[in-house]
Amino acid sequence: MTRHRGRGIASINYPIGMNLGGDPSQALVHSNPSGKFTVALSSIDLGQGMKSVTRQICAETLGVPVEDVYVDTADSDTGPHCMGSFASRGTHRVGNAVMAAAREARGVMMEAAAEELEVNAADLETDGRGNIHVKGAPHRSISTKDVAIAAQFKQGKTISGRGIFLVPLSNVDPETGEMSPATCYAHACLVAEVEVDDETGEVAMVRMDSAYELGRALNPRLVEQQLVGGAWMGVSHALYETPEPYYPDPVHGPRDFVEYLMPGPGDICPHDIAVLERPAPDGPFGGKGPGEMCANPVLPAVANAIFNAVGVRIDNLPITPEKVLRAIKAQGGARPQARR
C-alpha cells in the first residue's frame, strides 16, 4: 500500500447572474421620521451576507452611517420583486437595485434639506455621519433626522426611492448561436494537493492555494467567509456528495446526513487564498459576486490532482474510493504522473 501525492490546477471564468427574463431585481428605500432608512427587498439572505452588503451599499449611496440603515429581506408579500438568491447574483443584481433606489431617495432627501436650509440642493453634501451641510460651510448644517421630520410633517414629502436592475435579454443568434448570457464575469484559479491511497482508493485533501478575482470586495470579511467555506462545498461535490438525480433509482438516494456524506471537521486542510480586486464597471461600487464560484474550481482541480497522483482520470462525480480503486486496478496499478 502506498499513498501518492498529486497536484492539480483549474481556472474558471464565472458569469455573475443569468440571462433568464433579463434577471431583474428591485429594491425600495424609504426614510422613517426618525431619519433612519429601511430597504425593502424580497431577496433572501441565506447566511452569505447579502443583508450586510446591501446595507453598506445603501448607506454609502445615501451618505448616512451604516447604523442608520435597516434591511428588511425575504418577504415576497411586502417586498418588491427579486429573481432570487442564486447564480452569484445577490451583490451585483440586488446591490445595483439598492444603489438605484438609494440614489433616488438621496435626491429627495437633498431637496428636502435644501428647502430647510434655503439653499440650492446642488450646493449640499452629506458628511456620512448623519448630517447634510452646505459645501465648504459645515456650520450650515441639518441632521438627516430633522430633514426626515420636516419632509414628513411640514413639506409633505416621502423621502423614498425605487430601484431596479434589469439586463436586456440577450437572444441567441440563429446563425451562430452567439449570445451574451452575463454582463460581467468573475475569475478564479485553484491548486489542489491530494493524497491518494492506492489500496483503498481514498482521497485526502492535503492543501489548497487559490486566487479569486471578484470585482471589489465590498465586505472583505464576508468575501473571505464565502471563499473559505465554499471551497469545502467544492471538495464535498468532488469527493463525497451524490446529488439527485444521479442514482440508479430514486430509492437508492440518501435519506439523511448519515447516508449523504459531507466532509467533517477532521477532513479539512490548509487553504491559502488571495483576493484580487478589479472593480466591475457595472457592479455596485465595483462588486461582482463570490457566490457559487467559490466552490467551482475545486472540482476540476481535485480531479486533476488525482490524475497527477495515480494516473487515473475519473470523469464523473463524486470521485469515490470505489471509482478510484476500480480505475487503479483497471490500469494495473497506480501510475504517478510527473510533478511540476
Binding site: 467567509q225 473559505v228 469545502w232 462545498m233 439523511d256 448519515v258 479539512i268
Partner: protein, 158 residues
Amino acid sequence: MTKTPLQFRHNGRDVAIFVDGGTNLLVALRELIGDMTPKFGCGQGGCGTCSVLVDGELHLSCLTLAETVAGRSVETLDGMKQGPNLHPLQRAFADSFAAQCGYCTPGMLMAAKALLDRNPSPSRADVIEAISGNICRCTGYEPIINAILAAAGGRASA
C-alpha cells in the same frame, strides 16, 4: 398512551412536563418546554445540531429518551448567554465569522462548551475531535475551529 411525569433541571431552572413513552429529549425540549435552540437535523445522530449537555456531558438530544434525564441537569444554547452578555464562545463565533446559515451553530456551541468545560486550553486536534460529530455546510469548519481556540485563549488570559 399513558403519559409519564418528568422533572429535570433545564438551564438551571426546574421544569416538570408529561411525556409519552418513547419521547426523545429533542421533542421534549422543543415542543413541551418551548426551547427552540436545539435543532432537528437528521433525527438519528448524524449531524450534531441537536446537541445538549446532560450533567455537563455532550448528548445528542434526538437519540436521548426524555425519561432518562429525570432529576438531571440539561443545558442548551438557550442557557449559554450570561444575562445580557454573550458567552465568550458566542462572542468568539461572531468575531470569527463562524456562522453563516446558523443551523449547525447551536450544536457546535454546545460541543465546544463541553470541551472547554473539561479542557480550558485545548489543542487544535482536541477542538477538531470535539466537533467531529457536528457537520456544517457553509463555513468549511476552519472559522469554527478558530473561534473555539480564540475563546479558549481569551479565557486562559482572563
